[in-house]
């Protein structure tokens, strides 16, 4: 049974399914009940499942996470919404020092099957703190799983998988793709939550990305055809753990790797992937892996964000670089 849904509606459909299938599932967050969420992702859920299961909370991110932990102790399966990426930091201690560590701390006695939904990423012309990409902080934290979707089908399937997982999961939702439409098969058998997907196959260059830039990567791959270049696009989907086997198989085939993400360069996921793939595929690499990312600046004002976000042209410039073709840095050296 398939329908056309936007990515945000697909998440909502997944949440509805989860609430219906397991009465221990709870939703918690600011404005998620009567308002249905600032992006309307949870629209209609309070009406359907009641205020005890779809809870509007006071404005306190740390408390939302902390009480979710207490509820998990009591055997519930909370799904917490952080309204915007930039507001996750008050909850950082509860997420990193508590959520990620509780299973380890208690020798496996305590499970924290909590899902944290976070709209993330830029490209929406917003004011400060509404376009962040904080995934690396959490991918770096032991005990947490981090995933992100790029299509409505994945949004639907992956939110259900995240909720079913007995591990804490950060579910990053690419907010600029909330209105993108796609086919969603509500009964589809999904791939494992931790798996990456080869979205379009190719032979010359492996282009790895996730979340909001998957669509950009696909555009880049299509444009590259005109240059006679065959780009293989991989949607990581899972950022912790990363499905290195899929990426490795691809790079062994192409010998060239470009990684792109909105988050700033230093210490980002791209660095982890570049290092791991260099380790695994050193003897197959034709060129050094390239990262196309945001700069090491705070996310800029709306009028400047096009000079921060990776786009089709910057991606293809890096593709040229790994192919040994002329590119923006040909002959460039640091001063």
């Amino acid at each position: 049974m398939s329908e056309q849904l936007t990515l945000s509606r697909a998440i909502g459909a997944g949440l509805r399914r989860a609430l219906a299938d397991d009465d221990r599932v709870l939703l918690m967050g600011e404005d998620i009940g009567d308002l249905g969420g600032v992006f309307r992702v949870t629209d209609g859920l309070k009406a359907e499942f009641g205020g005890e299961r779809v809870m509007d909370t006071p404005l306190a991110e740390s408390a939302i996470l902390g009480t979710a932990i207490g509820l998990a102790y009591k055997g519930f399966r909370p799904v917490v919404e952080i309204q915007f990426d930039g507001f996750i930091f008050p909850a950082f201690d509860q997420i990193v020092a508590q959520l990620g560590k509780l299973r380890y701390r208690t020798g496996g006695a305590v499970s924290m099957p909590i899902t944290i939904r976070v709209p993330f990423g830029g490209g929406i012309g917003s004011v400060e703190h509404h376009s962040e990409s904080p995934e690396a902080y959490f991918a770096h934290t032991p005990g947490l799983r981090v995933v992100t979707c790029s299509t409505p089908q994945d949004a639907y399937s992956m939110i259900r998988q995240a909720i079913s997982s007995d591990d804490p999961v950060l579910f990053f939702e690419p907010k600029r793709r909330y209105w993108a439409k796609g086919e969603v098969d509500l009964e589809a058998e999904p791939e494992p939550l931790g798996s990456a997907r080869v979205v379009v196959p190719g032979t010359d260059v492996t282009l790895v990305t996730y979340g909001p830039l998957v669509a950009t990567a696909l555009d880049a791959a299509a444009a590259a055809v005109e240059d006679g270049v065959s780009v293989e696009v991989i949607d990581l989907r899972s950022l912790a753990p990363v499905d290195f086997e899929t990426v490795e198989a691809s790079v062994r085939k192409t010998g060239r790797l470009v990684i792109t993400h909105e988050a700033s360069q230093s210490g980002g996921l791209g660095a982890e992937i570049a290092a791991s793939i260099t380790d695994r595929c050193f003897y197959h690499l034709e060129a050094a892996p390239q990262r196309v990312t945001g700069f090491d600046v705070p996310y800029p004002p709306a009028k400047l964000e096009e000079h921060y976000l990776p786009d089709l042209d910057r991606i293809l410039d890096a593709v040229d670089r790994v192919l040994g073709r002329e590119n923006s840095l040909t002959g460039w050296s640091a001063k």
């Binding site: 709870l26 005890e52 909370t57 006071p58 306190a60 740390s62 408390a63 996470l65 902390g66 009480t67 979710a68 932990i69 207490g70 509820l71 998990a72 102790y73 009591k74 055997g75 519930f76 008050p90 201690d93 509860q94 020092a97 508590q98 560590k101 299973r103 380890y104 701390r105 208690t106 020798g107 496996g108 006695a109 305590v110 499970s111 099957p113 032991p142 005990g143 799983r145 997982s165 007995d166 591990d167 931790g194 912790a240 753990p241 990363v242 499905d243 290195f244 086997e245």
Partner: protein, 380 residues
């Protein structure tokens, strides 16, 4: 009972008629000299305590102090890495913990080893954290108590959430959060009170004001009595003499009753004193006024109960001997468990991070295992 009404000296709230009237003074039943005061409001909550029960309380206080002393010695002997003494706070912990039911759930800081003792934590399990063998000595669900929390105040949110869960499940279990005076400055503690009030959560905020947060005096954390805060959040509160085991028990029972009957949260400030250092690595001589120390020594919780029981003809030589023997037994067992504890196997460093398989961790684990077998003589 402190409520917003109390601060306005207004006693007309109909709902409050069931509860004892607000008092500005510390709730106290036993004076430091061991004299029992008449407190009709509170006496009825502990009227069931007969001679045996009182002796049992004395034994509890004596045993946990003995454990504390033994643990401190073990640290000085190199058997424990660290120990946070609860010396002086025995009555706060015993009086409250002994009021709880098995199905209640406790979320503590790191100093509540007397509470752990009451909840049924094995002596050897108590020691694991401080010896460095594990972060947690016990399964929280077996004893109804979380593992020690090192992040100050974080546990208050967990307790509040748990209490919200009890309410959703329609059970009358209560969650208790133990924390200190320093913790009340943390955002999490204040956020917890907001959530507890907004959701009428059956949670007790039990604050042991032991006057010190390492070297910072309570006056830095609060310019007025800590118990005054909770009414600002809409939570009734009590300020009790934390060295008076009877007063503590009475106050806790009041709070439990309120919670179990749908009345929501209560804040209890148990005023006591940290007679030992913050931990065995601390040196209070650098910041503590000796006079305060002496003043509080005179308010010792065990001494006053002994004096009361002696005056009541309950504390006979026989009882004394039995109590001491029990304490010595426990100390001996505690020491033996500690010294005999084996270190964990190296590869267990990878256990219990995730519920489901994790490819990156699996790879690291395999590579480390290969490394260990490659490096000769590396087994510990």
């Amino acid at each position: 009972m402190r409520t917003e009404a109390a601060l306005d000296s207004h006693h007309d709230d109909a709902d409050m008629n069931e509860w004892p009237d607000p008092q500005e003074e510390l709730v106290q039943i036993l004076t430091p000299e061991g004299q029992r005061l008449e407190q009709p409001m509170y006496d009825r909550w502990i009227s069931d305590l007969d001679a045996d029960a009182l002796v049992a309380l004395l034994e509890d206080l004596t045993v946990v102090r003995r454990i504390d002393v033994e643990a401190t010695a073990l640290q000085r002997q190199g058997e424990l890495g660290l120990w946070p003494p609860l010396l002086g706070q025995e009555a706060s912990q015993i009086g409250s913990a002994r009021a709880l039911r098995k199905d209640d759930f406790v979320f503590t800081s790191y100093r509540e080893n007397a509470v752990a003792y009451c909840r049924g934590v094995q002596l050897g399990d108590l020691v694991k954290v401080w010896r460095g063998t594990a972060f947690s000595g016990w399964n929280p669900f077996e004893v109804g108590m979380s593992t020690p929390q090192v992040i100050i105040g974080a546990q208050t949110l967990h307790a509040t959430g748990y209490a919200m869960g009890c309410k959703k499940d329609g059970v009358d279990s209560v969650a208790v959060a133990y924390f200190g005076d320093g913790a009340t400055s943390q955002g999490d503690v204040n956020e917890a009170m907001i959530f507890a009030a907004s959701f009428t959560a059956p949670v007790i905020f039990f604050c042991q004001n032991n006057h010190w947060a390492i070297s910072e005096p309570v006056g830095l954390q609060a310019v007025r009595p800590i118990a005054d805060r909770a009414p600002g959040f809409g939570i009734p509160s009590m300020r009790v003499d934390g060295n008076d085991v009877l007063a503590v028990m009475a106050a806790t029972r009041i709070a439990l009753d309120r919670a179990r009957s749908g009345g929501g949260p209560t804040f209890i400030e148990a005023v006591t004193y940290r007679m030992g250092p913050h931990t065995t690595s601390d040196d209070p001589s650098k910041y503590e006024d000796r006079a305060s120390h002496e003043e509080w020594a005179a308010k010792d919780p065990i001494l006053r109960l002994e004096q009361y029981l002696e005056g009541a003809g309950i504390l006979t030589d026989e009882v004394r001997t039995a109590v001491k023997a029990k304490a010595d037994d426990v100390a001996r067992e505690f020491r033996a468990e500690c010294i005999g504890m084996a270190s964990p196997e190296p590869m267990t460093v990878f256990d219990n991070v995730f519920a489901e398989p994790h490819s990156a961790l699996e790879r690291q684990k395999q590579q480390y295992a290969a490394y260990l077998s490659y490096v000769e003589g590396s087994t510990r």
